[in-house]
């Protein structure tokens, strides 16, 4: 997002149309890097949407220079909002973690880490199970980070989720993207965790920023686009995708309890309302 802003500043195009075209190019460039495509695409889309949302202002602007000013201002505002969104999530989830809780988390999520750190600062006593989260072992990073802030945590095998589930009080997940129906797209394995938790009636909380909302509803896991499933480098390599491991999976909203976002604590069905408000 910062990159987008930077490119905007450097942009010298003279018409609005041209400007938008260039922004699109930038977005494509971004998505070619090995990052979380889902959040980048949703974020940049929302970014575009947001900076161009003030139609009245744009119409009033006499020439492109002033237009550009407006866009830049809105862009900065958007980025600022984004950066603040984590704080807002922390605020909305202050009472999420209680003393004596046993929490299961999956993979590495900065939001989850921030919330737990905050809870430790408040003096809560709780312990965490972290899945190993193959294939990139991101769970181990998470465990290290947690231990650094003083949270007792245990790394478990991905295959041990079912074994451990009956002992935990809650499941906390991050998300790369939130679909319009409230389902999440997240690191592969999240679906297992959420489904098992749902089976055992454990609450599943998702900590996510609202810029990750996507206007899309996957019917099921097989209908996820390939750009989401695989890293850009793999896609570019041209290897047989059937043999590649998917990087993300889709968790149905039925398996999720609540979304903690910068917009507040939302039920899964509220996502669509926010998206519709933004896009229409």
């Amino acid at each position: 997002m910062m990159a987008l802003m930077e490119s905007m500043r450097r942009d010298k195009s003279t018409t609005l149309q041209e400007f938008i075209e260039k922004m699109k190019l930038e977005r494509e460039k971004l998505s070619k890097v090995d990052v979380s495509v889902v959040s980048v695409s949703s974020g940049s889309e929302l970014f575009m949407r947001f900076i161009t949302l003030a139609h009245q202002e744009l119409e009033q602007a006499a020439d492109f220079a002033s237009c550009r000013e407006i866009l830049l201002r809105r862009g900065e505002k958007f980025v600022k909002n984004m950066q603040e969104s984590r704080k807002k999530i922390l605020r909305s989830s202050t009472n999420l973690i209680k003393d004596g809780m046993i929490i299961l988390t999956h993979s590495h999520s900065r939001n989850v880490l921030a919330v737990m750190t905050e809870a430790v600062k408040q003096g809560r006593q709780f312990s965490v199970f972290v899945t190993e989260s193959q294939p990139d072992n991101s769970g181990r990073c998470m465990a290290k980070a947690l231990e650094a802030v003083g949270v007792p945590c245990t790394v478990i095998l991905d295959a041990a989720v079912g074994y451990i589930m009956e002992r935990v009080n809650a499941v906390m997940l991050g998300a790369e993207g939130v679909c319009e129906n409230g389902g999440i797209i997240n690191k592969i394995g999240s679906c297992n965790v959420a489904t098992l938790a749902h089976m055992k009636n454990k609450p599943v909380y998702v900590l996510v920023e609202s810029y990750k909302f996507i206007r899309r509803i996957p019917l099921d896991n097989s209908s996820l686009p390939k750009s989401y499933l695989h890293k850009a480098s793999v896609l570019n390599h041209g290897s047989d995708l059937e043999l590649e491991h998917p990087q993300v999976d889709y968790t149905h909203p039925d398996n999720l309890t609540l979304l903690y976002t910068d917009l507040g604590v939302l039920p899964t069905s509220a996502v669509t309302e926010h998206l519709i408000k933004l896009y229409t």
Binding site: E180, I217, L219, S223, T268, S269, T272, K277, T280
Partner: protein, 764 residues
């Protein structure tokens, strides 16, 4: 009807008749030993067919017997049971009558008419009581006329069953008519037999009794004569009304009063519904309208100009008489000489008929009163029951007849438990005044098209309705004293109401009407009329273009993001699903489609045709096959009739089955719907808001074995046949909604409703 009337009533009538008519009757019939014959003969006569059937024990025998009698077989094998029942009832009645016969008692009320009226003809046309007085003479004359008994008997035999049952079941109206006919009839032996069978039975169901309550009475009896032989004209519901008042050839002014209330009253009370009692009278009316001239001409010679009606009457009546007589003889061939038997039989028949007529007249009066109190619906039920039974009795195998009958029955829907709040299905169009300008002809046309299923489906109905409303707006003239917006809204109302009466509005139609009304109301009163109308028409065009046509293509585009190489399952016919499939095929998707269908009516056939033209591999299955199909299907796609605030989807009945099966097999359930079909009502089941279809469409079965088994379901106390048009799929079973705005979850519905209809919603 028969069983419940207690002996008391019958007794009363009987005695009354006796007292009143005794003079004429006895004199006329005195030659033959009435009292002796009465108890036995009518019973025998009635028993004839019934007894035969019973004794025969199996259909074949019964049939053969009948055949031997040289009768056309009215009784279908399947109907044997019914016939038996009917015969039993008749026997009971007759026996009771016989018992009562000797007792002389006077019931004053009905006698008057008879006495007052001029002897034979007046009596015939008059009310029930009068017939009794008139009958004997006419019969007598008839007998004397020297017909061949044997032939007559055969014919009678054939018709006897029908007629008797009809007479009984149709109740007062019919009987009156028939009796009248009989009396007048006596002169003509040559009456065409066909008329007897065909006209009343077939005609009855279709004829809508529309007219003023009193008028039809006159017209009915007279006209039927003409029309009866020909099959009743379906189309003209309104015509008979007109004809009725003018036609009465002879009907004494006083007579109709009595006769009228019984039969016609029903019709009057429930104008939309085809009354059975009145049906006898009414149907011929139609026929009369169609070819009054010819028939009249043909028969005028015999009857004379004055009594064209009498001819028909005669025929009908004659048939009945003959049939009864025949029945008697068949039952007891050995016992009586042909002549004696005949005379006795006649007498008995007469008596019985009179009795029945009187009884029924009384019943009818009573019913009438009750009904007037209780309103149309109840009438309808009773009449339907009668009609159905009648229909059975006649046992006509032809499909046409059945369809007509069914339709007639449909009108008098018995209220089904739990569903009484829904508008009852009626096979007939709602009543409206012919020349009134309150309903625009275009609206009239569209209404009837919807009524008869020419226009089906929410989208088509909305489009055609809006087209009609456009014409309505074009032809609208603002009165000088009013604002356009206000007056037009008022004028619009009867049109909309008429459409609703034809068929309950689909939710989409309500929304469309609401938006039109909104447009009308928001017109500035200062705008000149022409401009305002242009605006309105433009708004309607815009509505159709934006919400339906454009939206459909957008939906197809959106759906292509969800569907590519798939095996789709869909339900019935849906233009939207076709569009989607077409779009997917254009994009190069390899789609095959399974069309699940429901046989009443098989709308999926049209779907298959259309898909076939697209070159899509298509499979046509019934919904009952779902469990087989489901494992091979990858996605389920259906079109919604409406989507509720809580995300529940209202669609053609049967869709929810697909949703359930899809959920069970974890297949995505995709619902296509334009957002103008969204509705700010919460629905959790399909009982609260629904539409009742024609239940008779379900009970007609082509298979020989089951044919007609359920045809008389209305007579079965504990059996309800319900045809619901829509069902409701709960939001939880819907994976996504594809709308023109986007692919949405069901939870988006309230958001869209609030945003889209914020301006309109306030108005309700």
């Amino acid at each position: 009807m028969a069983p419940p009337d207690t002996p008391k009533r019958r007794g009363r009538k009987r005695s009354k008749r006796r007292a009143a008519s005794s003079g004429a009757r006895h004199t006329s019939l005195s030659e033959e030993p009435r009292p002796a014959t009465l108890p036995s003969s009518p019973a025998g006569g009635k028993k004839g067919p019934g007894a035969l059937l019973k004794k025969a024990g199996n259909k074949g025998q019964a049939n053969t017997v009948v055949l031997q009698q040289n009768c056309t077989i009215d009784t279908m094998p399947q109907k044997e049971n019914k016939l038996d029942n009917l015969c039993n009832l008749l026997e009971n009645i007759i026996l009771q009558h016989g018992r009562e016969a000797p007792t002389p008692g006077q019931k004053p009320a009905k006698v008057d008419g008879a006495t007052a009226l001029p002897p034979p003809r007046a009596g015939t046309q008059n009310a029930v009581p009068s017939t009794s007085g008139g009958l004997p003479a006419s019969l007598h004359s008839a007998l004397e006329a020297g017909k061949d008994l044997s032939k007559e008997e055969l014919e009678r035999e054939r018709k006897a069953r029908k007629e008797a049952k009809k007479a009984r079941k149709k109740g007062p109206g019919k009987e009156n008519v028939e009796e009248r006919k009989e009396t007048q009839n006596s002169g003509q032996g040559s009456a065409p037999t066909t008329t007897v069978k065909g006209s009343p039975v077939k005609g009855a169901p279709t004829t809508p009794v529309k007219g003023a309550p009193t008028t039809p009475v006159k017209g009915a009896p007279t006209r039927p004569v003409k029309g009866a032989p020909t099959t009743p004209v379906k189309g003209a519901p309104t015509t008979p009304v007109k004809g009725a008042p003018t036609t009465p050839v002879k009907g004494a002014p006083t007579t109709p009063v009595k006769g009228a209330p019984t039969t016609p009253v029903k019709g009057a009370a429930a104008p939309a519904i085809p009354v059975k009692g009145a049906a006898a009278a009414a149907t011929p009316v139609k026929g009369a309208v169609a070819k009054p001239v010819k028939v009249a001409a043909a028969k005028s010679a015999t009857a004379g100009a004055a009594v064209p009606s009498s001819i028909l009457v005669v025929d009908l009546r004659y048939g009945k008489e003959s049939s009864e007589q025949a029945g008697v003889e068949v039952a007891k061939p050995a016992g009586q000489d042909s002549t004696a038997g005949k005379s006795k039989a006649d007498l008995r028949r007469e008596r019985r008929e009179k009795q029945e007529a009187q009884r029924q007249a009384k019943l009818a009066l009573k019913e009438q009163q009750e009904e007037q109190k209780k309103q149309k619906d109840k009438q309808v039920v009773m009449e339907k029951a009668k009609a159905s039974s009648k229909a059975k009795a006649t046992g006509e195998g032809t499909r046409k007849a059945r369809v007509r009958r069914a339709s007639s029955r449909g009108s008098s829907e018995r209220k089904v438990p739990l569903l009484g709040h829904l508008p009852q299905y009626s096979p007939n169009p709602p009543p409206h005044q012919v020349n009134s300008d309150s309903i625009h002809p275009a609206v009239l046309t569209v209404g009837l098209k919807m009524k008869y299923g020419v226009v089906e489906g929410a989208t088509a109905r909305v489009i055609s309705m809006l087209a009609a409303l456009k014409l309505f707006i074009s032809d609208y003239r603002t009165p000088e004293s009013c604002d356009l917006s206000r007056d037009m809204a008022d004028k619009l109302k009867p049109n909309v109401d008429f459409l609703h009466a034809c068929r309950p509005h689909a939710i989409a139609m309500d929304n469309a009407i609401r938006s039109v009304k909104h447009k009308i109301n928001s017109i500035d009163p200062l705008t000149p009329e022409a401009q305002a109308k242009d605006e309105l028409r433009g708004a309607i065009d815009e509505f159709v273009g934006e919400n339906i046509i454009l939206a459909s293509s957008t939906i197809a585009t959106h759906a292509t993001t969800l569907i590519h190489d798939d095996v789709l399952l869909t339900f019935g016919y849906s233009a939207l699903v076709c569009d989607v499939v077409e779009a997917v095929v254009k994009e190069g998707g390899k789609v095959s489609v399974v069309v699940a269908d429901y046989p009443h009516p098989p709308s999926g056939a049209a779907m298959v045709q259309r898909l076939d033209r697209l070159g899509v591999p298509t499979y046509y299955r019934l919904v009952t096959d779902l469990s087989h199909i489901m494992s091979k299907v990858t996605k389920v796609v259906v079109e919604a009739e409406a989507v509720m605030m809580n995300g529940a989807v209202q669609a053609m009945c049967g869709t929810a089955c697909l949703a359930l099966a899809a959920a069970t097999h974890h297949k995505p359930f995709i619902v296509l719907c334009q957002t103008y079909k969204f509705c700010n009502i919460d629905l959790t089941d399909s009982l609260v808001m629904n539409e009742l279809g024609d239940a008779n469409s379900m009970v007609s079965c082509p298979s020989q074995e089951h044919q007609g088994v359920l045809a008389d379901w209305r007579d079965t106390q504990n059996l309800n046949v319900v045809r619901l048009v829509y069902d409701v799929t709960p939001a939880g079973l819907v994976t996504v909604l594809v709308t023109e705005q986007n692919v949405l979850p069901t939870s988006a519905v309230p958001v869209i409703i609030h945003r889209k209809y914020a301006d309109i919603l306030g108005q309700d």
